[in-house]
C-alpha cells in the first residue's frame, strides 16, 4: 500500500494539449470510487490522432510513477492506455483526427484508474472475440491484439456508454 499522503492533496492538475472544447458531459460513475473527494485526479485532453500517443504514454508514466507503482506496473499501464487510445482513434473515431479524447488518471486509496472518454462509435466487450494468432498470420493481418493486451495487463477493464459518451476505465490495484 502506498503512503496515503502521496495522493491526499485532492487538487486537480489539468494538462491540456489542445484547447479543451466545451464538453457538457454528465459525470459517469467510476466503479468503486467512492472516495473521489480525497483522491487525486490528473487530466489530459488530446486530439484523436496517433501523433499524440507518446504524450499519453508520458502522462501516464509520470502519474503512475508518482503514485508509487514499480517500473513494471508503470510499463503495463503505459501499454494498456496506449492500446485503449489507439482503439478509440481507430475504431470509435474511425481514424478521423478532428475529434478529442479526454484522459484522467484517478488515484484512490487502493487503486489507480485511467479513464478514457470519447464521443465516437461505442464498443461492447461482450461482442469481443479473442483473436487467433494462426488465423492472423495466415491472413497476413496485423491487428486484433490490443484488447487482449489490455485485459492481460490490467486488473480490470470496463466499458460503459451514457448520453453518447463512451468511457473506458483501466484499473490497477496497489500491491497489498
Amino acid at each position: 500500500m502506498i503512503p496515503k499522503k502521496k495522493h491526499l492533496p485532492g487538487l486537480e492538475t489539468i494538462k491540456t494539449v489542445v484547447p479543451q472544447k466545451h464538453l457538457e458531459r454528465q459525470e459517469l460513475e467510476i466503479a468503486g470510487l467512492t472516495d473521489t473527494l480525497a483522491s487525486n485526479i490528473h487530466k489530459l485532453t488530446i486530439p484523436s490522432s496517433t501523433r499524440y500517443l507518446e504524450d499519453v504514454r508520458e502522462f501516464v508514466t509520470t502519474h503512475a510513477t508518482q503514485a508509487g507503482f514499480p517500473d513494471e506496473v508503470v510499463e503495463q499501464l503505459k501499454i494498456a492506455v496506449d492500446e485503449a487510445c489507439t482503439n478509440i482513434i481507430k475504431h470509435a473515431y474511425k481514424g478521423k483526427g478532428e475529434n478529442i479524447i479526454d484522459l484522467a488518471v484517478i488515484l484512490s486509496a487502493d487503486k489507480l484508474i485511467v479513464r478514457l472518454r470519447d464521443e465516437g462509435v461505442s464498443f461492447s466487450p461482450s461482442d469481443y472475440k479473442e483473436p487467433n494468432l494462426i488465423e492472423i498470420a495466415k491472413k497476413r493481418r496485423s491487428g486484433g491484439l490490443g484488447v487482449h493486451i489490455m485485459n492481460r495487463l490490467m486488473d480490470r477493464v470496463e466499458y460503459r456508454t451514457r448520453d453518447g459518451v463512451n468511457e473506458c476505465c483501466l484499473v490497477k490495484y496497489f500491491p497489498s
Binding site: T50, R51, L53, E54, R57, D71, E72, E75, K78, I79, D82, E83, T86, I89, K90, L133, I136, A137, K138, R140, R141, S142, G143, G144, L145, G146, H148, I149, R152, L153
Partner: protein, 116 residues
Amino acid sequence: MSNFSVGFRTNENIQILDLKGELDAHTASDLEAAIHKCQASGNFQIVINGGELMYISSAGLGVFMAYIEEIRENGGDIKITNLQAKVFNVFDLLGFPLLFDILDTEEEAFTRFRDN
C-alpha cells in the same frame, strides 16, 4: 519528427534492421515500409535488432504477424534479437516466443540462418 527510426545494415545475404525508439500505432507504418523494402529487393532473411527499441505496442507486434508468413513462404524468416527485458515482456505476453525466433544476439540469428 518521429520518435522511431529504422536503420539498414547487411551481413552477407542477411538484412539487419536496427529499430530505435518507440514502436506504436503512429510509427508502425515506418517498420512496415522497412520490411516492405526488404521484400521488394528480394531480401527475405531479416534480423530485427531491437537493442535500442524502447517500447512496443500491439500495433508494432502486428507488423511482424502480418509479414511472417509471406517471408517464410519465400524461404526466409524474421528473427528478432537483443530485445530489452521490458520490450521482450510484451512479445512474451502474446506468446511470440513460440511463433518467432527470438534470440539474444545477432550472431545467434546469423548462425540459425546459416544452419537453416
